[in-house]
Amino acid sequence: APAQPRAASFQAWGPPSPELLAPTRFALEMFNRGRAAGTRAVLGLVRGRVRRAGQGSLYSLEATLEEPPCNDPMVCRLPVSKKTLLCSFQVLDELGRHVLLRKDCGPVDTKVPGAGEPKSAFTQGSAMISSLSQNHPDNRNETFSSVISLLNEDPLSQDLPVKMASIFKNFVITYNRTYESKEEARWRLSVFVNNMVRAQKIQALDRGTAQYGVTKFSDLTEEEFRTIYLNTLLRKEPGNKMKQAKSVGDL
């Protein structure tokens, strides 16, 4: 069925209303952060709602983003054509300052708005992850369990930002993190929250016994982590040719 407003503050698919404009722009800016010119996504349609409490507003947004084609192996892992993403954002506005609490995007595999509820890898994946997570409640450490339970809570729970901020604070203390400014700290918090969602997905899709969660790299974006710590030369260059070792039976 076509999306219908579920509450007075709910906006159906369309260009962002004045009320949703600022948090939507902020979410888009966060999405594009670190991306080179020519690879940045542009906003399509938006829907969402706002819940106000005290001096803060919590925006739950869904937006379609158009990504330009990517053929540069330094930027994207595989060549991809132009694609539409369906993203779910949660933005907290407190005294005019925005914090991105959640970002989750996936390619849209049907034409999205106007034709009913969008179907995407993101929404399908979330449902699968949710069911898988419930099957293994005892396999996680305490910290990660608390993150998982937070992520499974009502996204409009007033406690969510506070609890997530508390877990982030523990991370900052544990790994002795210092940030140059409050803006940097807010950005790292949003990266951290996104990473917890990523870790949850990796956890759900692992067929071994591994547990994933908060690590000392949890405040780094995927791009930062790959650039700083990994070694993509391994897949690009043939290297020095070596002799084949004899198997141990031949020694």
Partner: protein
């Protein structure tokens, strides 16, 4: 291959190191292998210098990455490796300060190993820790346990991290490789990563190699 093996308990593996904010995993993987080969052939465990490779191996790109196969050649051509104490790790490239007189370890050659994991296990148990390259999918958030990502998520074609196989075994019937990483002891299981064995998980079998010490 024996059903399980662990070179850590046999004194062939130095403590877990930390590459810092530098893509020098290739150097740590290779020094780990040479440390093991030297121990098994000469009887002494020495912690060897990655910084020498960052500074002096001109075929590789220091913190921007490198290849174990190139590093073996560099060690051979330079005339050996100094110890960690003599040429300590800085985590960024400097000018080459290698001194042949200070080299404590040499290698004669290097070899590429089989992609068959059973043969790799047999080789490891008989000949020592193995340098391998893997797809690091999920490792940013890995805490403990045996990792086995779905194959499409951890393609053997997208290799981006070099590490050291130091042992193998089974935990509750799940076969694993014990992998020494170079991200410090405050990551993973005291610096170690456990990856599923026998399924080519994350390309663990695609780029296995070792130095040869005669």
């Amino acid at each position: 291959a024996p059903p399980e093996w662990d070179w850590r308990s046999k004194g062939a593996v130095t403590k877990v190191k930390d590459q810092g904010m530098c893509g020098s995993c290739w150097a740590f993987s290779v020094t780990g292998n040479v440390e093991g080969q030297w121990f098994l052939n000469q009887g002494t465990l020495l912690s060897l210098s990655e910084q020498e490779l960052l500074d002096c191996d001109k075929m590789d790109k220091a913190c921007m990455g490198g290849l174990p196969s190139n590093a073996y050649s560099a060690i051979k051509n330079l005339g050996g490796l100094e110890t960690e104490d003599d040429y300590s790790y800085q985590g960024h490239m400097q000018s080459c300060n290698f001194s042949a007189e200070k080299a404590k370890v040499y290698i004669n050659d290097s070899v590429e190993l089989s992609q068959n994991e059973q043969k790799l296990a047999a080789w490891l148990a008989k000949r020592g820790p193995i340098s391998v390259a893997i797809n690091a999918f999920g490792m940013q958030f890995y805490r403990h346990g045996i990792s086995r990502p779905l194959r499409p998520l951890c393609s053997p074609w997208l290799i981006d991290h070099a590490v050291l196989l130091v042992g193998y075994g089974n935990r509750s019937d799940v076969p694993f490789w014990a992998i020494k990483n170079s991200w410090g002891t405050d990551w993973g299981e005291k610096g170690y990563y456990y990856l599923h064995r026998g399924s080519g998980a994350c390309g663990v079998n695609t780029m296995a190699s070792s130095a040869v010490v005669d």
